[in-house]
């Protein structure tokens, strides 16, 4: 019985989150969103090697984090932490702008968690991603 109940709850949450994803247009574009996307795209060229070396990984809340800076020479660690900070600032702003562009600023948190799943799905193999149980390598 408990299992069935749990199943039902799970199903309900799934439908719930599906509903938000279906209702919110995640591909919506405004000049603000495209400015943020351009900025993220430009940064990705620099972040690519850090994903691959395991220095950084994708977190379960749709951001990125320094996982192990030891993979990076000391001289570059300042730049690395700066990039992570900038990337997270852009990501948070992106979620906010998408919510605003959909006319529902209050959807920000749900949009962020939908994106978190997307980033992790799209991560290349070898990258580190954060699940419920901590860091795992794809």
């Amino acid at each position: 019985m408990k299992k069935i109940l749990l199943g039902l709850v799970l199903l309900a949450t799934l439908i719930g989150s599906q509903f938000v994803a279906a209702a919110a247009d995640l591909e919506v574009n405004t000049p603000a969103i495209s400015a943020i996307k351009n900025s993220m795209q430009a940064r990705h060229a620099q972040l690519g090697a850090f994903y691959a070396s395991g220095a950084i990984g994708l977190t379960k809340d749709g951001l990125i984090a320094v996982k192990d800076a030891n993979a990076v020479p000391l001289a570059q660690r300042g730049a690395l932490t700066g990039l992570v900070k900038d990337e997270n600032a852009d990501r948070s702003r992106l979620y906010k702008e998408i919510a605003v562009a959909n006319g529902h600023p209050e959807w920000q948190a749900e949009i962020q968690s939908t994106f978190a799943g997307r980033w992790i799905d799209k991560a290349q193999s070898g990258w580190w991603v954060q699940g419920a149980g901590g860091w795992t390598q794809k």
């Binding site: 000049p31 603000a32 996982k67 800076a69 000391l74 300042g78 700066g82 702003r93």
Partner: protein, 536 residues
């Protein structure tokens, strides 16, 4: 974790002969997954007359360590640490010296690439409070710091501090110490040179005195957003006493606009700043800021001021900003600008004198103007713009006349329009109204394919210019679509130019909706003047 230590020990508790150590450990090693610390330890004294009295020196040779995330780490570190410790009545008296000879250290957010730095300090430790009676830090090529103070070692909180840096070389200090701290500011990517002197006083963990002096400092943004040369400043501040601060520069540039020699004086009183009047020379005019008042509360800036721009030459201005060359002079006045926690608002209206007419901006607000996605909202009213001057600025074909316009509910994101209701039309009143053949073609092209005077053109093309009675266009922009209209509606479209007199011409528009980016592309094609407008 692995620990090794090979030592020669002197026997007995008596003081060893002079020059001889009590304990000499040439081969020490502390090693774990992220730590490798080879060291030599020499203990000269451990007890003196049966009371604890440590006098030792540790030398690290090619040491490396790192925390789990790698954010506090050192590599190839060679350093000597001398320490003396003795117990007095109720405290430990200490004396220490660090000589960091070589090796690199990353201590987030700072990275120091090489050694050559020394620290000497002495003080006492009692009741969980570390007192530094005097400390002298010498950072190679950067400067020297003298400090004293007290640190609560329970939470590493500075209780008192008295620090002075008499001569700081900004060219070497900026990349190491300031750049990492300014990462998110406009000053993150600049070249800096010159000298600074700094004094800081902290009492009961509260800042009490701060004084910054800048001597002939040059600062230039590498992205060429701004530069200031020969900056001199006296910026004293104290918690208890109000001070006058002064700041001046010989020359500079802001977004390609040259700034003239400027001298600013202001009063600071604890966390607020006021100045009755500041004059900033820009191009051939100047910006006057009046009744300036700023204060910082709960980590956020709040300020307000009035602004008046003395006429600057639009020709000079447009050339500098690489805009189409505009004629005339522009001046502006804003009674009150307010900035509160990231949002800039204006009270009253900004009146710009442009193209022999006026542009009045009201309801202007800006959010995160310096951020990555700034937002601007405003209403703009244009009155009596001289179409002759305007059309000669943008190679559009000549139109004689005057133009009024209203752009309501304008919203810009990242400086691009996303929403507005705009109407532009010929001003009421009597004045010569003439339009050239080329302008007719261009206007027709704006109205979209299938437009225009095609029928009349067959014989009207012999005329260079035509008379018109009125002209106008409107655009209601929503979701990147512009709903267009003209001065009159007809069953199949709208009238953009209504003819009058002889020879007269009427230009019609038929597309009721136009993609905004498409319209912009058309305007660009037309004003570039390179290609002939397409009239079908």
């Amino acid at each position: 974790m692995q620990f090794q230590l090979d030592c020669d020990l002197m026997k007995g508790h008596d003081k060893p002969a002079s020059g001889q150590a009590m304990m000499d450990c040439r081969q020490g090693l502390l090693e774990s997954s992220h730590v490798k610390l080879p060291f030599a330890l020499r203990v000269n004294e451990l007890f003196l007359k049966y009371s604890p009295h440590l006098d030792a020196s540790i030398q690290f040779k090619n040491a490396s360590f790192s925390d789990e995330a790698g954010l506090h780490a050192a590599e190839k570190l060679n350093a000597t640490l001398d320490i003396a410790l003795k117990q007095s009545a109720d405290a430990w008296l200490w004396q220490g010296k660090v000589d960091w000879q070589s090796g690199e250290v990353f201590w987030q957010p700072f990275y120091i690439a090489s050694g050559g730095h020394q620290l000497a300090a002495s003080g006492k430790l009692a009741n969980g409070l570390l007192t530094v009676d005097s400390a002298h830090l010498k950072v190679k090529d950067v400067g020297e710091l003298d400090a004293s103070g007290q640190l609560d070692i329970k939470d590493f909180k500075l209780v008192n501090l008295n620090a002075s840096l008499p001569s700081l070389n900004l060219a070497t200090a900026y990349p190491v110490f300031f750049k990492p701290m300014l990462e998110k500011t406009a000053f993150a990517n600049a070249d800096v040179s010159g000298f600074a002197a700094l004094k800081v006083e902290l009492q009961d963990s509260e800042p009490r005195v701060f004084e910054l002096v800048l001597n002939d400092v040059d600062i230039a943004d590498r992205d060429q957003k701004f530069s200031f040369y020969k900056v001199n400043a006296q910026l004293p501040w104290s918690y208890d006493v109000a001070h006058t601060v002064s700041f001046s520069y010989e020359s500079g540039e802001l977004l390609s606009l040259p700034l003239g020699k400027t001298n600013i004086q202001a009063q600071v009183d604890r966390y607020s700043l006021t100045a009755p009047d500041i004059k900033l020379p820009i191009l051939d005019g100047a910006l006057h800021l009046t009744n300036i008042s700023a204060s910082r509360r709960a980590g956020q800036w709040y300020w307000h001021l009035g602004a008046k721009l003395d006429a600057i030459s639009m020709e000079d201005f447009s050339t500098r900003l690489k805009l189409p060359k505009m004629q005339g002079k522009a001046s502006a006045e804003i009674p009150l600008v307010t900035y509160a926690a990231g949002t800039l608002t204006t009270d009253g209206s900004i009146v710009l004198n442009v193209f022999n007419g006026t542009a009045t901006v009201t309801q202007l607000t800006m959010q995160t103007p310096l951020g990555i996605a700034p937002k601007l909202n405003a209403d703009i009213a244009l009155r009596n713009l001289d179409l002759g001057v305007l059309t000669s600025t943008y190679s559009f074909g000549a139109i004689e006349g005057k133009l009024d316009g209203d752009i309501k509910g304008l919203e810009l994101q990242n400086w691009k329009p996303v929403k507005f209701d705009a109407v532009v039309q010929s001003s009421p009143g009597k004045y010569p109204k003439k339009i050239s053949q080329r302008a007719v073609e261009n206007i027709s092209a704006l109205g979209g394919g299938g437009a225009a005077a095609a029928v009349q053109r067959s014989f009207l093309r012999f005329f260079e210019q035509f008379n018109y009675g009125k002209m106008g266009l409107s655009c209601r922009l929503r979701n990147d679509i512009c709903e267009m209209g003209g001065v009159e509606s007809t069953p199949h479209g709208y009238v953009i130019v209504k003819g009058s007199g002889i020879p007269a011409i009427t230009v019609m528009g038929y597309n009721e909706t136009v993609g905004w980016s498409e319209l912009l592309a058309r305007i660009k094609r037309v004003t570039d003047g390179n290609s002939k407008a397409i009239v079908r």
